[in-house]
Amino acid sequence: MEMLAPATPKSWYLPTKPHKFCPGCGHGITLKALGEAIDELGIQQETIFGCDIGCSLLAWNFFACDSTQTHHGRTTPVMVGIKRARPELITIGYMGDGGGYSIGSQHLLNSAVRNEKVTLILVNNTNYGMTGGQMAPTTLPGQITETSPYGRDPETTGYPTRGPEFIAELTPEGAYVARATVSKYKQLKRLIRNAIRNQMEGNGFSFVEVLSTCPTNWRTNANQTWNFLEEKMEQYFPVGEIKSPLGKGDK
């Protein structure tokens, strides 16, 4: 029987496919949505893709776009430097929740305050995947990780960071802030596309958090993985646009 090959975005770099993410990981879905958004906006040639350390770094040669890989948490300032130097380029930074909300939080916060004209996509899988599943700023209360083996205790480690909510508070009008999830693909792609469009229109800082899955470190099967995403994560982290200067009714 002939295998039916799934459609791949034009902006994907095919020599590096299949990609290297774990089975069941949400990065592949997120990067497919990003690739399709780049295609639909017709910006492959002027896009600069930058990725962090952590699992996101596996995307360093993912796209047929000029790309650069940075250090943990430092993708934001590198993207800012590129955009400040060459405003005609479209800079898309890609990072995890550890990179964005912990080790690079000062960069995220201050670039949001300065309303830097960059697009950042932050994948939230509630743990540090690449380093072996430690507690992240986004780990849910009670969630077991390698550094919260008895479950995250908010009394001693605080509550999960709600990134888009604090970024929305920090940014002026013109910024775009949203949260998407890999469980709702069409919305995911639309929000990513909006976040890029917002940069293209020169409106301001554009940020999308993407709720994602990590069955390897969660130690979950397919059912449990999807349940954790849809029942637990989406409950704690509400999905949707939080702030958008783009016109209503954009589909």
Binding site: Y13, Q44, Q45, E46, I48, G50, I53, L57, W60, N61, F63, A64, C65, D66, S67, T68, Q69, T70, H71, R74, P77, V78, M79, V80, G81, I82, K83, R84, A85, R86, L89, Q106, H107, L109, N110, S111
Partner: protein, 362 residues
């Protein structure tokens, strides 16, 4: 290239102001900076001058960001620079490491302050180890240690050229005295001195259509396999070593018949120069050697000076507790000349200090 200075002209200004003018004259496009003493006035002058010449500036949230935004801007093909000191230099070792790994032509001006920790805001030569070998790498950097404001001006211009020609992160290592003192110098447009300015070029966002004219650029600094990294580091090391002879700079005076050779760098070398003149007038055969590049180090030249003079002693004088001494010792391993030291960490050294020390040795 745009002329900034016009006819070469005399100026009397601080070293930090000198840096800003030199960056303008060298054609720098953008500075990223974060406040720390004693480099602040580099930003103060740059922010006043830059808009008049269509140049840019961003004050970042910290030195990590200043270093990484600089890395981003040079990847995008712009002449970008930063300036820092002390704890800021510590934080910038992370982006400097990336610049080493990815061969990014970042120019950084380091105005050394006292250390460790916050130390003083005044002066020292305690950032030699950090600036030459900081970071989790092999020290593939080019470090010019300046002594006068004229050199600050000259080497900032040269530093941009070195960085973009060889694509190694390049440093102009000054200090609080050089930053804050006023001193006469001549400012000029590089083209008027026959200096060809090396034009920057992008590493990403390059011309050509991806998929038709060229492959996408995929820059990285991480490798999956030990062997991949080994190949890269060995290749970069070989390249660094092969270009080192073209880059190395030093001064040697009165060494031919010297009994004792005084080695110093940066602003201390001015005291050493004076001390040698006075000692010579008193009949003491003192020589003067100064590495201008601390990385790469003028190893061969120093060994030759030691051998040819037959000097009994080296006296290493520095405003640190042995940072220059360690550099020298690793470079001249095997020489049997006796090494004496004058360590005055965090304080200035004048000719009298050196003369007194020489007389206690000879």
């Amino acid at each position: 290239m745009e002329k900034i200075i016009g006819e070469p002209k005399k100026a009397f200004m601080t070293g930090n102001e000198t840096v800003a003018w030199a960056c303008l004259a060298a054609g720098a496009d953008i500075m990223f900076g974060y406040p720390i003493t004693p480099q602040n006035e580099v930003m103060h002058y740059w922010t006043r001058l830059a808009p008049k010449y269509n140049r840019n500036f961003l004050q970042t949230e910290d030195e990590l960001s200043a270093g990484f935004t600089t890395c981003g801007a040079v990847q995008a093909g712009k002449k970008a620079f930063t300036a820092t000191a002390g704890p800021g230099n510590v934080l910038m070792q992370e982006p400097f490491g990336m610049a080493e790994a990815m061969r990014l032509p970042v120019l950084s001006i380091i105005q050394q302050r006292g250390g460790p920790s916050s130390g003083t805001v005044v002066y020292s030569q305690q950032e030699v180890t950090l600036t030459t070998y900081g970071g989790n790498g092999e020290g593939h950097r080019i470090v010019y240690s300046t002594a006068t404001h004229q050199e600050v001006y000259d080497y900032v211009i040269k530093g941009f050229n070195t960085a973009w020609k060889y694509r190694f992160p390049t440093f102009v290592l000054g200090d609080g005295y050089q930053a804050k003192m006023r001193e006469p110098l001549e400012m000029y447009d590089p083209q008027d001195k026959g200096i060809e300015i090396i034009q920057p070029y992008p590493l990403i966002g390059i011309p050509g259509k991806i998929g038709e004219d060229r492959e996408p650029q995929h820059l990285c600094n991480i490798y999956s396999l030990e062997e991949e990294l080994y190949e890269v580091v060995m290749r970069v090391s070989a390249e660094y070593e092969s270009i080192s002879p073209e880059i190395v700079e030093f001064q040697a005076r009165n060494c031919e018949d010297a009994d004792i050779i005084i080695i110093s760098h940066g602003v201390v070398s001015r005291a050493a120069d004076d001390a040698v003149k006075i000692l010579r007038a008193q009949g003491i055969k003192a020589g003067y050697f100064r590495p201008i590049t601390l990385r790469p180090f003028p190893q061969q030249q120093l060994r030759e000076v030691i051998t040819q003079s037959g000097a009994k002693y080296l006296l290493i004088a520095e405003s640190a507790y042995g940072q220059l001494e360690r550099l020298i010792k690793q470079e001249i391993y095997g020489e049997t000349v006796e090494i004496e030291t004058l360590f005055m960490p965090g304080v200035g050294i004048i000719d009298f200090d050196i003369i007194k020390k020489v007389k206690s040795i000879i």
